[in-house]
């Protein structure tokens, strides 16, 4: 145990750098995943015939082993942070797009009927009714994507993107459990912290009216 403590103390600046890289990689990937997947999910609710093929295609991407996907990136985008982020975005798309799609479809049709009958435009319905009511489901998709992305980011080090994966790979190469743990433990903690942060945010921004259970 003191051995691991020594490693942590020795490599502290290393760990801090790698953690920071890891966070930046994950956040950039999540940002682009949200920017791409939420509108995709919304569009699919407008063109529902496309939903099955498009979501199917995204699922297929999901089934490619992450290591292999990172490998595919090298001939296309070279090595470094960019191909790693692209691969991470591809992974994060599915939970976000699918939850956006189902979240909006699950909105009570009576509310949409009322909204239309009151004279809302399509845009107003989306902004004032569909998105606010689907928000928690979309948020759940983002949480899933976040935990996955932080996990996949450890592998990004294979194509030279840095992050906590660097420490893990180095530890494996040196057959040094201490160094492996110095990378793996912070990665796990990051995943848990981000998930908790998002859960808290979700609760904070849920309108009071939706936190109340139905009376009937």
């Amino acid at each position: 145990m003191s051995e691991i403590l020594n490693v942590i103390i020795d490599r502290w600046p290393n760990i801090v750098d790698a953690t920071w890289q890891h966070i930046v990689l994950s956040i950039v990937a999540l940002f682009w995943a949200i920017v791409l997947a939420v509108p995709t999910g919304i569009l699919l609710t407008r063109f529902r015939k496309l939903a099955t093929p498009v979501l199917g295609f995204i699922s297929v991407l999901q089934t490619i082993p992450s290591l292999a996907l990172l490998g595919f990136m090298i001939p296309l985008f070279g090595i470094g942070a960019t191909p790693a982020v692209i691969a991470m975005v591809v992974y994060a798309l599915l939970p976000i797009a699918r939850n956006t799609y189902t979240g909006i479809l699950d909105v009570d049709p009576a509310l949409l009927e009322a909204a239309r009958g009151m004279g809302m435009t399509k845009g107003q319905m989306l902004r004032m009714v569909e998105l606010p009511l689907a928000r928690s489901v979309i948020f759940a998709g983002i949480r899933t994507a976040t935990v996955m992305t932080i996990g996949v980011a450890t592998l990004a080090s294979f194509i030279g993107a840095g992050g906590l994966g660097d420490l893990i790979l180095r530890g494996i190469a040196m057959v040094d459990t201490g160094i492996i743990l110095a990378g793996a433990v912070p990665a796990a903690i990051l995943a848990i912290l981000f998930d908790m942060l998002l859960a808290w945010t979700d609760w904070r921004i849920t309108p009071k009216g939706l936190r109340i259970q139905n009376r009937t």
């Binding site: 009570d108 009576a110 009958g117 009151m118 004279g119 809302m120 009216g209 939706l210 259970q213 009376r215």
Partner: protein, 379 residues
């Protein structure tokens, strides 16, 4: 008074099937007009074509004099109030936010008119201070629909469409809201188009009733005229099935007077008179000590022979008066009661014991009840 809404040769078809083959209709300004008919008769389709939630296949619909199809649907709907059965309040918005939605959509004068919100909530019987900042899920179904009505009236539209707004509520709340809608429109004079499948509701609230069947208007008239002169068998069935037949299939024991005034046969005439005066009845039912029915003693018979002091009730009663069995269907007993010399018929069970009394008053009561009160106890 002009027509707020006119349908001119309107047709709506889905593929080959014409839901509304050819509809001509006018709805007068400032009235409550109820579209009524069985499910699938086209009443909801007709109503939804007014605010273009459903587009007609052909024909013209005039709303307040202009052709509704020339106005953008969004613009049209913002000037027509809309209340639906499922209420459709937005759960993430407060009551105030829900009520002010249409003005906010119109972006009227930026600031929400707080006084108008208060006035609307008061109008539908909710205390503004208590409810303004609450959320729909904190309210009961009836309260939610009150808010739904307030929301539809908020921007003061001349026309309000109501699609079975009270059908999902319990009978007592439904009654209240019906009463309040009638009261409210005496104040506001909106043109209200109200869809329901419940004829009792239609008869209660309507100024005009439009009975529909298979996409056609069968009859358009006032409730009084529809009751008096139903256009055909269908309308008669629709107004009649509940209000006449169903309670005529009731049996006698549901309607009879349960504890008629009885007297023992050995009692004297003076005692009988005293009892009739005390109980305020004109006749007595004679039973023995086991409760077996023996006959009727009417005041006329008793008075005719009153001077004969030695007589007892047994000597003056009529043992041959008509009686009915307690399980007889009510319909069969009506002629008997009408022909009975004293206006009442004793009800006995299979063993000949007295169970009750059918009077003209109790029958009139049963026959008139659906007309007088809208028939809600036969739901």
């Amino acid at each position: 008074m002009g027509n707020a809404i006119v349908f001119d040769n309107v047709r709506k078809s889905y593929g080959q099937k014409a839901v509304i083959p050819n509809l001509n209709l006018s709805i007068a300004e400032g009235t409550i007009t109820v579209l009524v008919g069985p499910s699938g008769c086209g009443k909801t389709t007709t109503m939804k074509m007014i605010n273009q939630l459903i587009q007609p296949s052909s024909g013209k619909i005039y709303v307040n004099g202009s052709n509704a199809l020339d106005i953008s649907p969004v613009e049209l709907r913002r000037n027509i109030g809309y209340v639906i059965q499922q209420v459709g309040l937005f759960p993430h918005m407060t009551i105030e936010e829900n009520v002010t939605l249409v003005p906010r959509l119109k972006k009227q004068a930026g600031e929400v008119n707080r006084e108008q919100v208060d006035r609307m909530l008061q109008l539908v019987g909710l205390n503004p201070d208590e409810y303004r900042h609450r959320y729909p899920r904190e309210l009961s179904g009836g309260q939610q629909q009150r808010v739904g009505v307030a929301r539809a009236l908020m921007s003061d539209p001349p026309i309000v469409l109501m699609d079975e707004p009270f059908s999902a509520l319990d009978p007592i709340t439904r009654e209240q809201l019906q009463d309040e809608l009638i009261r409210l429109n005496q104040e506001l004079n909106k043109t209200i188009v109200f869809v329901t499948h419940d004829m009792d509701e239609a008869l209660k609230i309507a100024d005009q009733i439009i009975v529909m069947q298979d996409g056609h208007v069968i009859q358009q008239s006032t409730p009084e005229q529809i009751l008096r002169h139903p256009a055909n068998e269908f309308v008669r069935g629709f107004i009649g099935e509940k209000r006449l037949t169903s309670h005529l299939t009731q049996s006698v024991d549901e309607v009879m007077v349960k504890h008629p005034v009885t007297i023992a046969p050995q009692k004297g005439l003076a005692e009988a008179v005293k009892m009739m005066v005390r109980k305020r009845v004109t006749g007595l039912i004679v039973v023995d000590k086991d409760g077996t029915y023996l006959g009727l003693a009417d005041s006329a018979d008793i008075h005719a022979r009153y001077p004969e002091e030695s007589l007892s009730i047994r000597d003056v009663m009529r043992a041959d008066a008509a009686v009915v069995n307690v399980s007889t269907p009510l319909a069969e007993t009506i002629p008997l009661v009408q022909q009975a010399p004293y206006g009442y018929v004793p009800v006995v069970d299979d063993l000949g014991r007295l169970r009750g009394l059918l009077t003209r008053a109790s029958l009139v009561d049963v026959l008139a009840r659906p007309y007088l009160e809208g028939g809600e106890e036969h739901e």
